[in-house]
Symmetry: C2
Subunit: 127 residues, 2 copies
DNA sequence: CGAAAAATTGACGTTTACGTAAACGTGATG
DNA sequence: CATCACGTTTACGTAAACGTCAATTTTTCG
């Protein structure tokens, strides 16, 4: 069997352009739980995926606690009807939030275009 | 001439579903500067527009300082070529950031759909 | 093997964005 | 005009997300 690729904390930090301190902090807040070899943290592929999700969540403005809950929700995947319905409901709420944000971005991009055009016009007139 | 509609701080707060404290804080950070009548703040249409921009900026994850700079940039609109080019450049950077975020959202929405479908399938099998 | 490089665990410091409480001024209303 | 809701400033408190030492292992490498 192929030996899985592993990473030290500083390698991981460099890869994502963050500090080891941040990574340890995410672990403290239960968003990561890497293996250990004599107290040293060993990160595998799954940890990279999770970290990627964490950083994307942060870019979208979610708190670490929200990110943690969401990841927990998604990779638990229960079997009871009530729980499944709850997950669906939560996803639906998240989706609405994201769609609002998408609209926010579209509006902002449009305004930026308007300003850009006005400025370009001004620049042309400056000849 | 039509008397402009004005608002008290609490009316404004209610309208945007935030606290007066938050509004005063935005003023402290130079994002707002309403008129005064004997120390009392009087908000007009322009202030509403600015506040709307502030809140949208916050939803997009920008800091108040970033929002302040951006608003300043956009409503200064200089006449010197160098400055105009600088504004264009800044806008271009902001646009790239927003487009990244747009991509982040699209990815997340897709993942949510995948999970949703898996759950719905599970629910059907539960009969 | 022995020193330098890398990791670990505290623990206190910092910034952002307000919350909260105190102490006081203002304005509408019966 | 008295009262009472509403507004103001000042100032300290707080949660989130790390930054920054410091003191101690562990690992690695010539």
């Amino acid at each position: 069997m192929a030996k899985e690729i592993t990473y030290s904390i500083s390698q991981l930090a460099k890869h994502f352009d963050i500090t080891p301190r941040a990574i340890r902090f995410y672990e403290d807040r239960k968003l990561l739980s890497p293996e250990r070899h004599n107290s040293h943290r060993i990160y595998k592929e799954g940890d990279l995926v999770r970290l990627k999700l964490i950083l994307r969540g942060k870019r979208l403005g979610f708190s670490l606690e929200e990110i943690r809950k969401t990841m927990e929700l998604y990779d638990t995947e229960p079997n009871e009807k009530t729980q499944l319905l709850f997950v669906l409901d939560t996803i639906s709420i998240h989706r609405q939030e994201l769609e609002t944000r998408q609209q926010d971005i579209r509006e902002t991009l449009n305004e930026m275009k308007t300003v850009s055009n006005r400025i370009k016009k001004k620049l042309k007139e400056l000849d």
